[in-house]
């Protein structure tokens, strides 16, 4: 069953990819990949392995058990975040394209187990990043390595389960009526969702801290040894680690089963939130074509908060700085600058959400007089709204400590725009006027982060010689933006 669903999902993804669907050879190749589970997963895993080897090199040259345990704690965040991200995003997508519709009429008791299995397959290539490090530990300390492996799976499972809970809580409700009240509720939900994810992102911040202050961290780990990922540090105390693993399994198993039941129940019959009906006359609100497309995207984001996950990576960049500023009571200009560059760089991740938000409605868009260029521009706008807002807020926040922060405001606008423009120009590079949803894999995303990183390095180059060259740097950014604008116009 999972094999069929996997094939169908990847067939649907290939069908929606204009780079593939308009090229018979490519389409056949994509279908061949989609049809073979082993080949599909193999290709993806292979792409992750170089990054895994890079990370494993740190483990190769470390023999101190305390440092290894601390490094393992930070590494353990990866399967957790991957699983949560992929589950939340991909489950919404899978359900929006109606992958489970054919199963609804069949006598299946717990169909969500197939959704869960399918999503696990989607997450599994990410193990290519983690497993090399685990194997290094295994080579040095076999028993501890096995325990590390088990903890990686616990992390995967925990993230996956939380992802399912998010989908269950946010994505599987059907509101009968929109309106101001509903929008407010959705926004509140989205904010809570952001805070919820932010909590885990903040945990990742500890990763830096761990490396810098391993002694101090060991004390903290000791204090919070029960909570994941701190619990992973227990691998060098096997009996304690096994005990903790058993406690985790004992808690996760029933919660997972209950979550699966709740998810399947809601897939079969999404809970309908009824609200009072008040019929009012239709009043037209006309906007520009590109703005209408962006506005539509945002309406959908607000109503599907699970899609917001992709926008949280820039938020994760901001969080440690804000926490640090509150702690120290100061926020330097350089800190604000670094955060703005990071927000800009990682706004690449928003591409995933702005493309996937279309779900199965591409055919409708294709019947409308929308040029590829207009569609692409709307996606650039949709991608930048959240990072620009975050950037502006951090500049304003920075101005509380140093009013010169306001000089950095142009970056808050230009960097996400540059990042989004490069990403979208790359993804929509196919010829022809047809609009489509280009495929965006993790590898594409990493590639785009590298390209945008190089462009940002160019912008930041004058700053190496001091902040007095701020305006030169901003002029370079403006120049790049102008060039991108010309390219987009000719697209």
């Amino acid at each position: 069953m999972i094999r069929i669903l996997y094939r169908e999902l990847h067939y649907q993804i290939a069908k929606r990819n204009p780079l593939v669907v308009n090229d018979e050879k490519q389409f056949k190749k994509a279908i061949k990949n989609a049809m073979s589970l082993r080949r599909g997963l193999g290709v993806q895993t292979f792409g992750f392995i170089p990054f895994g080897l890079l990370m494993a090199s740190t483990f190769v040259f470390t023999n101190d058990r305390l440092v290894l345990a601390s490094l393992m704690v930070s590494l353990a965040l990866l399967p957790f975040v991957f699983a949560m991200y992929v589950t939340a995003i991909q489950a919404s997508y899978v359900l929006s394209i109606g992958l489970f519709k054919p199963l609804e009429a069949l006598p299946i008791r717990l169909g969500s187990k197939y959704l869960s299995g399918l999503l696990f397959l989607e997450v599994s290539p990410a193990l290519g990043v983690i497993l090399p490090s685990v194997f290094v530990i295994m080579a040095k300390y076999p028993l501890e390595g096995i325990l590390a492996l088990l903890w990686v799976f616990i992390g995967l499972f925990l993230g996956h389960m939380l992802g399912l809970a998010i989908v269950n809580f946010f994505a599987l409700k059907v509101h009968q009526r929109a309106g101001k009240g509903h929008t407010l509720k959705s926004l509140v939900k989205a904010v809570f969702f952001l805070l919820f994810i932010g909590m885990f992102m903040a945990m990742n911040y500890l990763q830096y801290y761990i490396r810098e202050h391993s002694e101090e961290v060991a004390r903290i780990i000791g204090k919070y040894f029960i909570a994941y990922p701190f619990s992973v540090a227990s691998i060098f105390e096997p009996s304690r680690s096994v005990g903790l693993l058993m406690i985790y399994v004992a808690i996760i198993a029933p919660v997972y089963y209950l979550t699966l039941r709740a998810v399947w129940k809601k897939i079969l019959e999404p809970s309908v939130v009824s609200e009072k009906i008040f019929v009012s006359r239709f009043k037209a609100k006309i906007t520009n074509k590109i703005l209408a497309l962006t506005l539509k995207d945002f309406r959908m984001f607000v109503r599907k908060p699970a899609m917001l996950v992709a926008f949280l990576i820039p938020l994760y960049m901001v969080l440690p700085t804000i926490v640090d500023a509150f702690r120290k009571g100061q926020l330097s200009l350089l800190n604000v600058l670094v955060v703005l560059f990071m927000v800009g760089l990682f706004s690449v991740a928003g591409a995933d959400a702005v493309l996937k938000v279309e779900g199965n409605v591409l055919e409708l868009l294709k019947t409308l007089p929308i040029r590829k260029k207009e569609f692409m521009l709307s996606k650039i706008l949709s991608m930048t709204v959240v990072p620009i807002t975050i950037g502006v807020l951090i500049v304003i926040f920075g101005a509380r400590y140093d009013v010169d922060s306001l000089l950095l405001l142009p970056y808050a606008f230009m960097l996400p725009l540059i990042s989004a423009s490069i990403t979208m120009l790359y993804l929509f590079r196919y010829t022809g006027e047809d609009i489509g949803i280009p495929e965006l894999s993790w590898l594409h995303m990493i590639f785009m982060i590298i390209i945008v990183g190089i462009v940002f390095a160019l912008i930041a180059a004058p700053l190496v010689f001091g902040l007095k060259h701020l305006f030169v740097s901003q002029e370079i950014a403006l120049g790049i933006l102008f060039i991108l604008f010309i390219i987009a116009k000719k697209h």
Binding site: F282, K283, A284, K289, K296
Partner: protein, 253 residues
């Protein structure tokens, strides 16, 4: 006017449309009929510019969709066989979205939405999410959105699906009105008495080929049958098959 000449469409090795040709004049309702999978929807999608033909010539009001699909999309109102809509938008937001994308003036959009919403009786659903509406109501939303820009050419792929009798009647009358105004309409349906009633000419597609075309009178004469259902079954070589299948089923029931 719609002109189709030698239209060929292949999906890989499979020939879906094998050189079909037909013409729909202004002020004419053309019924495009055929069994499931015969190529009706593909033909319609090519006319709208969603699908590219392998070869052949298509002109919609003098515009070639393969060369200027945007222009064709401005002229055409298209209703797909199953409604394709943004489920998390409300019909009100969706109509505003369509109006903005099509550049419909505010007053005109207001007037047309109000008229159609009232005609199809969906006022009370204007602020409900489309995903929560019944199939029939979604079909009405899809239909209204295709009519908002006052299209010169209408391409309706089983547009009557899911409509209640009152709405179906309203749509029928609307189509006859559009015809009077000189618009070209292609209409596909499996409700053969309806096609018989409103279509000026009918084309029957079978296995990717247009096997017969003409007015109702011409089809009757050609097939020596009295109604469209019998004509359809005879020309698609299904009449004996239907009889045999029913006999076999009776045996298993």
């Amino acid at each position: 006017m719609i002109e189709v000449e030698g239209l060929l469409k292949k999906f890989g090795e499979k020939i879906v449309l094998n050189g079909i040709s037909f013409r729909v004049n202004n002020g004419e309702i053309y019924g495009l009929l055929g069994p499931n999978g015969s190529g009706k929807s593909t033909t319609m999608k090519i006319l709208v510019g969603i699908v590219q033909p392998t070869s052949g010539q298509v002109l919609v009001d003098g515009v070639d969709p393969t060369r200027d699909s945007i222009k064709v999309k401005e002229i055409v109102g298209y209703v797909p066989e199953t409604p394709v809509l943004y489920e998390s938008l409300t019909p009100r937001e969706f109509f505003n979205f369509i109006g903005s994308v099509r550049g419909i003036p505010k007053e005109k959009l207001e007037e047309r939405v109000s008229q159609f919403v009232e005609a199809f009786g969906i006022e009370e659903y204007l602020d409900q999410f489309i995903g929560t509406l019944s199939f029939g109501t979604q079909q009405k939303v899809s239909l209204i959105s295709a009519l908002l820009h006052d299209p010169q050419v209408l391409i309706l792929d089983e547009a009557m699906n899911g409509l209640d009798p009152k709405s179906a009647r309203i749509l029928r009358e609307l189509l006859l009105e559009f015809k009077k105004e000189g618009r070209s309409i292609i209409f596909s349906t499996h409700i053969l008495p309806l096609a018989e009633m409103i279509c000026d000419r009918i084309g029957l597609i079978y296995k990717g080929e247009l096997i017969v075309e003409g007015t109702m009178g011409e089809l009757k004469e050609r097939a020596h049958e009295e109604n469209l259902e019998d004509i359809f079954l005879k020309l698609t070589e299904s009449k004996d098959e239907v009889y045999n299948i029913v006999q076999a089923l009776k045996g298993t029931l």
